[in-house]
């Protein structure tokens, strides 16, 4: 029996596998980034920065495939949603990796002297963000929207941590202006982590779109 569009279906699956590979590298970058920060390991930070090249290359590859599939396969309905989602998701994963790089670069400013306070909330934010990425990519594969809702709830936690840290670090600077050199990079890092979480919610929204056909903002 000839199964119509078998090849196209295979190309869609391959496309989604590239997204997963890209997501896995970004997830890995998030782990190394925080380890580099905690251990003040500039070598590991450099290594993490270099990993971004792989993510960028995958992003271009995915974009090229999406354009080709739209131009040649006249995708409709779910097929069309899968391709559009892949295109958008790749863009968001690429941004996640870019922020991991930014954190590594800012982290260099903190590497040469002891921190005025131990790193606690930032690793906590990183853990949540990494879990969010993992859950969303899982949802992408399993089509389980409950994972998307869970990730959205996690995003709220990240937002709260960010707001609290922002106020706290600002207060430190007010009390002791000599802390500015450390507090500013720390504020930037929390801001980047908060942005990463936002990009991950975008990914979740595309997974939601593929499954429901509805485009909407999921976070409150």
């Amino acid at each position: 029996m000839v199964k119509p569009r078998r090849r196209f279906e295979q190309e869609l699956v391959e496309l989604e596998q590239l997204i997963l590979r890209m997501g896995a590298i970004s997830e890995d970058m998030l782990s190394r980034m925080i380890q580099a920060l905690k251990e003040r390991n500039t070598e590991l930070a450099e290594e993490t920065v270099r990993m971004d090249d792989q993510v960028d290359a995958l992003n271009l590859e995915i974009e090229t495939i999406c354009i080709k599939l739209i131009a040649t396969q006249q995708p409709q309905a779910r097929d069309l949603r899968r391709i559009i989602a892949a295109l958008k998701i790749a863009g968001d994963v690429e941004r996640v990796a870019d922020y991991a790089v930014d954190i590594c670069l800012v982290g260099r400013e903190l590497a040469d002297k002891p921190l005025f306070k131990p790193l606690e909330d930032i690793p906590k934010m990183q853990e949540i963000v990494k879990r969010m990425l993992h859950e969303t990519l899982d949802a992408f594969v399993t089509r389980d929207l409950d994972l998307v809702y869970k990730m959205i709830a996690d995003d709220e936690e990240v937002d709260t941590l960010y707001e609290n840290l922002y106020v706290e670090l600002k207060d430190f600077m007010k009390q002791d202006p000599s802390l500015v050199d450390q507090a500013v990079p720390l504020i930037l890092i929390t801001r980047y982590l908060e942005r990463i979480a936002d990009h991950i919610t975008n990914i979740g929204e595309r997974v939601f779109y593929v499954e429901t056909g509805e485009l909407k903002e999921l976070h409150v």
Partner: protein, 255 residues
């Protein structure tokens, strides 16, 4: 693989005249082995004529004069000593409307190998079974092999025509508008069938449907007024054509 060996068909400086009409003008084209090449272009551009040159079907038309060479592998098919019957076994053809013979399904497929000298019943049975299986028709017709092929739907008849072609164990399969008489589901089945065939054969298709060329082919050749304007990988042709005439044609702005 050697670059030269990637290609199954090489067309060199081919010109075709119909009486005083210069129909194909200086065609040079390499067609990749085990892939699907689509010839597209507006009506009258010469795409079917070019396709028919590849198994010398134009020879049967009076007043046609062909200059140039077409290599199938390393053989020039327009050489004086070419056995045209043998050539057409190596280069099979499927037409626009399914041409099922008014015979049984079995005989439709068995006729070609029989013409080429196969007479052993068991061998013929095997050829019929494997050809019908390869085109995905076996399950649907296994219990009515000796019924008339004309009772099949048009889509099934077209699959049968492909089965008949592959029963001769060709190297190249030419398809001239194979889906224009078919409904969308049958069309998709034929396209998927072409994809499977391309694993073992070199497939060349003429199609009026740009969408079909885009979906189903690996390489696309755009023709206009008897000339090749542009050829290349299908993905590139449909995203970034190099020639503005190709762009106008595939975006529907052709005048």
């Amino acid at each position: 693989m050697d670059q030269k060996d990637c290609y199954k068909i090489r067309i060199e400086d081919l010109n075709l005249y119909f009486a005083t009409n210069h129909v194909l003008k200086g065609i040079n084209l390499d067609i990749r082995k085990n892939s699907i090449t689509a010839l597209i272009g507006p009506s009258g551009c010469g795409k079917s004529t070019l396709l028919r040159c590849i198994n010398r079907m134009n020879d049967v038309i009076d007043e046609v004069r062909i200059v140039g060479r077409i290599f199938l592998g390393h053989e020039d098919i327009y050489a004086d000593d070419t056995d045209v019957t043998h050539l057409r076994k190596r280069v099979g053809m499927v037409f626009q409307r399914p041409v099922a013979f008014p015979l049984s399904i079995y005989e439709n497929v068995a006729s070609a190998p029989r013409v080429h000298g196969v007479s052993h019943k068991e061998t013929l049975d095997n050829i019929v079974t494997s050809s019908l299986t390869k085109v995905g028709l076996w399950d649907e017709v296994a219990d009515k092999l000796h019924k008339s092929a004309l009772n099949l739907s048009l889509g099934q008849q077209q699959q049968l025509c492909v089965a008949r072609v592959i029963a001769s164990e060709p190297e190249v399969i030419l398809l001239d508008e194979p889906c224009s008489a078919l409904d969308p589901i049958s069309t998709m089945k034929i396209e998927e069938l072409m994809r499977q065939l391309a694993e073992n054969y070199t497939v060349v298709i003429v199609t009026h449907s740009m969408q079909q060329a885009a979906r189903a082919s690996d390489c696309t050749v755009f023709m206009l007024s008897g000339e090749i304007i542009e050829s290349g990988p299908t993905g590139e042709m449909f995203t970034s054509p190099r020639d503005s005439r190709t762009e106008n044609y595939i975006t529907g702005r052709f005048r």
